[in-house]
Symmetry: D2
Subunit: 352 residues, 4 copies
């Protein structure tokens, strides 16, 4: 299959190029960008020298020309800043109904346009929000298989939801005060020049930010509510730590008194059973670490009940650029087109 | 004043040497060690070459010889692994009643011997536990001023207690489920060879550990209970992040419904007023970062109320080797002997 | 083909496991260790959980039992500390002549036993030194293709030799004073507990060490002499820098006066031509960086002539665990058995 | 004495503020900036909250108003980008002859205006170049003591010159090919937003740059020529490594045959004797590391003769923001005004 990536020069974009270059079902890869169009890809990302020396095509071609048909594109990945995917998605839906669309941004993750606009600003094609499936394969696999339009989950949400949704589905915890404390590497901030992202500003610091005010709150709360069968109270507090890749999320919630005995005895086994067929979730017997998933598509999960306070503690670790972005996008691509589920995603963590 | 440090070659010990070398009231510094006795200090810690080239004295001399009187020692700092301070402290209490003792370990922080032994093992002189003051100057200054025996707080506890005690004193939060999520650099693990502490094992990872089972739980819960006027339910969950120095602690607790309006309007101002005379606590208007206190004795604190979940979120950041260990020990030393409160502790953060 | 790795739990070993797991020609992987035999592989290296949960076999089985024949082993990789490969290699040479042996240690890299013993200590089977091919495929491909016994190059030597051998072959530089200044990440020191390798001792430092006295000097000088057609004077000065993977080597040598004009005009083109068929060497137009090869098998090379001092400056960067160890071993394995040269080695750098 | 810092918000500027705040001879500190004038200093540099909450004054006031006299300013430190100091220095020289000027930029380091303009562009007041003393106290102390105008050395030059000048003064080495290979942390690049300086672009990489073309070449070669008594051939090759502070420079030069025996026997002792009265240079018996000087004003130096190649290898390590910039500026300030030489500079390295 021929595949197109729009936004190939950012961190998520280049991770996607790396993965799709080795994907057994991908024939030809077309790389597009807006501000960097015209540049040689390997000049922007010298790691690709000798392998991807193509010139970046202008993203506008996707809309303004007959590009998709001429190049027999089967799928388009949109790896763009939040808000920038809408016109491409809209064009493809309206003109190229057979093309699979996987949006790595937030534009099509939130089903309720009011909730979207509260956090992100105007949406230019809200009529298509319902058409998009939230691409978390461990929970929505059936819908993904039958869809051509996927809103790929955010990085923080992936780590939090995979840790917490099984507990919510089981009705084990109170849902009025779920606290998610996440620690993230810097690559989530993208390849954008900013003083706050300088090496000298990030090394040797822990930087909590946007506590209770981060935009991913909308997406996490939406999916938690679906699993819990009703609105949840979510407090999401992320921190930047001095590393490039990786997110560790710890989620705290009060155990319902009537579920306490069951949870103490069985919660970890329940999680293991829950994920037994999920090729990329590993339920561990001990606390997880981000280095064990770095560069891989795994999410390592752990859960326990703190007896002193009757609190459920669930942890999830991912590589934010792989399972938290491009790897999960490839997973969705595989499901959408009936490829082997783990095709192109079999690599282990790069460690140390 | 002549001063003696027992355990001068570890990370807390050498930080103490750095601080006391420049302290205006310290005349002569005597350095002791057990396993490294006989070595030249600057061979073990080459940063001190040309300034501290003394040979480390055997710590046993403190007990077995007339060392204290012969050298007119006024104060002894014990910077030893947990459990190792007891014999030195006992000897000094029983034989050198005029000498000030500041223990940087955990041996004399816990007032209840059963609680101590639950977490740390046998205590060989429990009869002296009550004599020690918990050396958190922002809360116990009056007692410290009149004491010769100080149990210097742990690093995690310092960051958590300074963030949370004002709220507990004000009776703003429910106390049955207080969650403290801390992120720490590696120097807290000390200068001990271990695979898990290798650069290659710590770089590019977040490593949560001992959730609900860390020994500092005892000390934090003890001080929280004093402030709250009754037992608290505490869940403490620390993580290692890839840096050398610094701890960021975020503490979550439910606001009492009857205090919610007051807390939303006034909590930050209350904290500012609370700490207005504390020279080393800075209550910030925005979220704190560890780099702003690195190498200094400051604790930066921030507090907010999350309206969505009616949760109080309090954050504290410190340098674990300064405010979390040796700087706080010097602060206690200053108070104990009536020196200027900030003597030897005026340095700003080393940044970047 | 069934393959066996002896020493699978160290850093080079686990990198080899990662690569061979995805290698299209490898059927079954047998993992052996000495001190960690009996442990579950994924307990030692949790990154492999769910993929490699085998128990580590005792390495002695390779010698003491009929292991090779019973399991139809076609190749054995020895990823052991220097000096430990000899008995396994000797046994296999004498008893299993059809098995390919690739030694990642130094035991069979040096052809002259006196030179070996000067740097490494006694050699127990010097009669086999000549049988081993120095496995640097860019220079010794023909010999590797016809051999069953490969001494895989060291990490520093790979980066230095690929940068400098073309110049030496061309006779461009004086050979009495070749200076190689290398900067390396910490993973080269292995997964061994040592205070000097702690995160807290390596972060935020540059640590030059063993200037003029590093054991890799022997191997580098040997291969340089072959290329230059006579003994060379080599000064090798390595430094540790605060990262896990990667080596950058800068090599300085005086340009011969009679070659100066040619070198100024043509040296970079000559290098490009020299390596035009080498799939893993990329000659760049600008200075290389280690991050562009991290996790990949590439060596990026650059060369220039400093006109002010008539000095040739050649740079080579590699991932020390891939091109500097396990990736190069797989490359040799591919050549030895006539597999596609890049099989199992097509991955791009993991960046950022 | 009242002191003014122009350019107080950059990395060198804030290091200077930290040092002068604790300097026993400084009464009042006035902070100026151009683009950040009007901002509260502690808003730009939150590490200073509670200690330096002043508003940054407009740098233009120094020229356009009667600022110096009105505030009884005794010394002005210029911590500005290269090229920006000239108008301030010119104004002060012409109107405030009693004020001491210490320029931390390159504007007044090069004595030959042609050489200056070759590397840096136009100079607007070349007539004052000769008046400035190159502020390397270990070599120019007498001139500094009698001067009011100091060009403070660059960071790379400080580390290279302190390592190499004694050998050049002794006439031990050939001077036609001196190679200086330096490894630096990122803070040398300043607090400027640039993609190449992002955490994600600098972590886990070694990045050699501007080999043979770095502007510091002019300054290093100038001072080497003075010491050697004639022009030298210098090849300077710097690399960025993943840390914030610190430079390690290794300098290689051929030993003159007639000096070889002496050098082998005596070079280290000669260096120790040479620097015996220099309070900030420590000649070590083993290779130096940047962490031992981090945050201090020390330069640790080591020298050896490689017998294999008859090469002198000299190493120098500094903290680029202290001994390589602001600490050295304070040292010059102390000498200029007859203060204790180490006043304000007694701190040990912050380690780990």
């Amino acid at each position: 299959m021929n595949v197109c990536i729009v936004g190939a020069s950012g961190y998520a974009g280049q991770q996607l190029v790396s993965l799709l270059l080795l994907h057994p079902e991908v024939d030809k890869l077309f790389l597009m960008a807006s501000s960097t169009a015209g540049a040689r890809y390997s000049d922007l990302n010298p790691a690709f020298k000798g392998r991807v020396d193509d010139t970046l095509l202008p993203a506008a071609d996707l809309i303004e020309t007959n590009f998709v048909k001429e190049n027999a594109i089967g799928a388009v990945f949109l790896a763009l800043p939040h808000g920038a995917s809408m016109p491409y998605a809209q064009h493809l839906i309206e003109n190229e109904p057979d093309v699979g669309i996987i949006d790595l941004g937030a534009d099509f993750r939130i089903h309720d346009v009011k909730e979207y606009e509260k956090w992100y600003g105007d949406h230019t094609c809200p009529e298509y929000l319902d058409r998009f499936v939230y691409g978390l394969p461990e929970f929505n696999k059936d819908q993904i298989v039958g869809s051509k339009t996927i809103g790929n989950p955010g990085c923080y949400p992936t780590s939090i939801l995979l840790a917490m949704l099984p507990a919510l589905k089981a009705g084990v915890v109170e849902t009025d005060r779920i606290v998610a404390d996440s620690k993230s590497g810097m690559s989530g901030a993208g390849k954008t020049a900013a003083v706050a992202s300088l090496f000298t500003e990030v090394a040797e610091t822990v930087r909590p930010y946007k506590t209770g005010k981060h935009r991913h709150t909308a997406e996490i709360a939406q999916e938690m509510a679906i699993a819990a069968g009703g609105k949840v109270g979510l407090l999401f507090s992320p921190s930047i730590v001095p590393m490039s890749r990786g997110i560790e999320s710890t989620v705290y919630a009060a155990v319902k008194p009537e579920k306490l005995e069951w949870a103490k005895a069985s919660i970890l086994d329940y999680y293991k059973e829950f994920y037994k067929d999920a090729p990329f979730v590993r339920v561990l017997d001990s606390q997880p670490e981000t280095r064990n998933v770095r560069g891989s598509n795994f999410c390592d999960v752990w859960v326990t009940i703190d007896e002193e306070t009757s609190t459920l503690v669930a942890m999830g670790v991912i590589d934010n650029l792989v399972k938290g972005a491009s790897g999960q996008a490839v997973h969705n691509f595989n499901l959408m087109f009936g490829f082997e589920e783990t095709a192109g995603l079999k690599m282990m963590a790069l460690y140390p």
